[in-house]
């Protein structure tokens, strides 16, 4: 674990638990969503444990990681060493927005809540990784959990393993922050074989209210084989909004593509007609200018099962 001579531009300004870069949170996508600043709200206990992980004179550091043995070995194989299991979380109270029964619309206040709370969690995780001097965070998971606090309060959590390149090159993205990626250790190794590097976990979300149908419409379609255009259209629009926002984030990072995109549709606690569309993926760039040749995989037939 040689954490000496880091090439990054991180300011060595003491023990501040929030290793947040001065540029603040991620630049938002095109929309005018007002984000709360991240630095202030960081709980005082955050990052207390990280000091123990680092090598100091008279103290031998070590790493912690939630990577499986396979993933750990593959990360090593890709030329990285794990530094620490990093986390960020926020318990967040989601506001109320009235919905019109018969109108399909984005619920801006709820969208904002989902963005804000996830960014709080993500940025706190980033801050821990930055403090460890990491080049990136792999195996990121982003979860929303509801417990017995009621339907408007949720825990947003981001988890991952901070890693550092063993060749001492900086793999930070162009914002000077550690890259984040939800790729598993296996996917990360495979991605690196193809000459690509991850730049950041990008996401787009949209909370959308889908209009109920009026009585007349319901009667007209009873017993018929017909498409329900207002439902179809609403789903399309919400999905487009989420995907576009994700792509905007990737463009800001200067990505050449997004891999491993997942689109999740969840109603959380809002009832039937209100759905969050969340798209998540890892923005990547080709680091080899297309020079890289991908090894031809061997084809096998497995005889089990």
């Amino acid at each position: 674990m040689t954490s000496s001579a880091k090439p990054s531009s991180e300011s060595p300004s003491g023990e501040s638990p929030s290793g947040e870069s001065p540029s603040g949170g991620k630049p938002s996508s095109a929309e005018e969503r007002d984000r709360t600043p991240i630095d202030e709200g960081l709980p005082p206990d955050a990052g207390r444990r990280l000091a123990e992980l680092e090598d100091r004179p008279g103290h031998k550091g070590m790493f912690t990681s939630d990577l499986s043995v396979n993933e750990f070995l593959l990360i090593k194989e890709a030329g990285f060493h794990p530094l620490g299991f990093v986390m960020g979380s926020s318990i967040y109270h989601i506001g109320i927005q009235t919905r019109r029964w018969s109108q399909s619309q984005e619920l801006a206040k709820l969208t904002e809540a989902m963005y804000n709370a996830r960014e709080l969690a993500m940025n706190r995780m980033d801050a821990e990784a930055t403090e460890l001097g990491a080049d990136g965070v792999v195996g990121v998971r982003l979860d929303v959990n509801y417990y017995e606090w009621g339907s408007d309060t949720a825990e947003f959590i981001a988890l991952g393993t901070a890693v550092k390149a063993e060749d001492n090159n900086s793999y930070r993205n162009k914002e000077g922050k550690p890259f984040t990626s939800d790729l598993s250790g296996q996917d990360f190794w495979t991605l690196m074989q193809t000459g690509h590097v991850p730049l950041g976990l990008v996401m787009g979300t949209c909370v959308y209210h889908i209009a109920h149908r009026g009585l007349g419409q319901t009667l007209r379609t009873t017993g018929q084989n017909v498409e329900l255009p207002n439902f179809t259209q609403a789903l399309y629009e919400a999905r487009e909004l989420a995907m576009t926002r994700m792509q905007d984030e990737a463009n800001q990072l200067g990505a050449s593509g997004i891999v491993g995109v997942r689109l999740e549709e969840k109603s959380h606690m809002w009832g039937d007609h209100t759905i969050e569309f969340l798209s998540l993926g890892t923005a990547v760039a080709d680091a080899s200018d297309g020079q890289h040749t991908i090894p031809q995989p061997r084809t096998i037939i497995s005889l089990d099962g």
């Binding site: 070590m62 990681s65 070995l73 986390m87 967040y92 989601i94 825990e155 959590i157 995989p297 061997r298």
Partner: protein, 272 residues
Amino acid sequence: MDAKKAVDALSAPPRPTATHHNPAGTTSDLSVDEVLLLHSIGWEPADMVFGVAWWSVPWGSWQWRTGEIVEASNAFAGAMEEAAGQLRAECARAGGSGVVGVKVDLRVRAQHIDVSLTGTAIRRTGKKPTGFEFISDLSARDFAVLTRSGWTPLGLATGASFVIAPRRTAKQWAAQQGQNVELPHLTEALYQAREGAMARMQQAGISMHAQGIVDVKMDEGPMGAGGRVMQFVAVGTAVKLAASEHQMIRPEMVVTLNDPVVLFEAASVRGG
């Protein structure tokens, strides 16, 4: 006198398989390929081993206070250590040098915390007992791969912390209604529990002279009391580089030509 006998029986429960050393017959919950893998690195299963410990948490520990419930955190640490001690003793009796595939069952109740550990004791093939080396929750397969790349497990590293968040004042509560806001009292309690538990796990690793802790599993979130008690439990295996340097495993890419098996369910077509 009877009480002493009972306590003695508890600390050394009679084990039919462990009392006589039988190299031909071993009990293990390992699969055939895991046994083969173990043999490939010079190990073999010895016996299944168990450890159980219940520790009480004093009455009233969870009431009328905020901050960490030190009694509960200590009960966890004590129960874990005692259960691991039993596992180690059983392993020694079975002639094993290490325990792999340890399953950790933890229950936290208001009055007690219990830990039960189940694993398979393994020993080096064809050698006299080499003494106790490690307990690990890694599977036998993981142990084999890790050993081949030059690393060795040292032991289970665990940590837990239980923290009660303060109540909100009526004014705070009112100000948060209908708003998009973070709830700092809960978030901070969660952070306190997390930092406490992770720091204890790291301390355990450092005291074993580990270079890292892999496969950390964590359980976190509120438990009872209206969601104001935050628990955080972390369990992992401390590891150390035993060889002079990390051995690359050089994986090879393969594409399997097997088609995914698609099960056709008639019921789904019938609408049943």
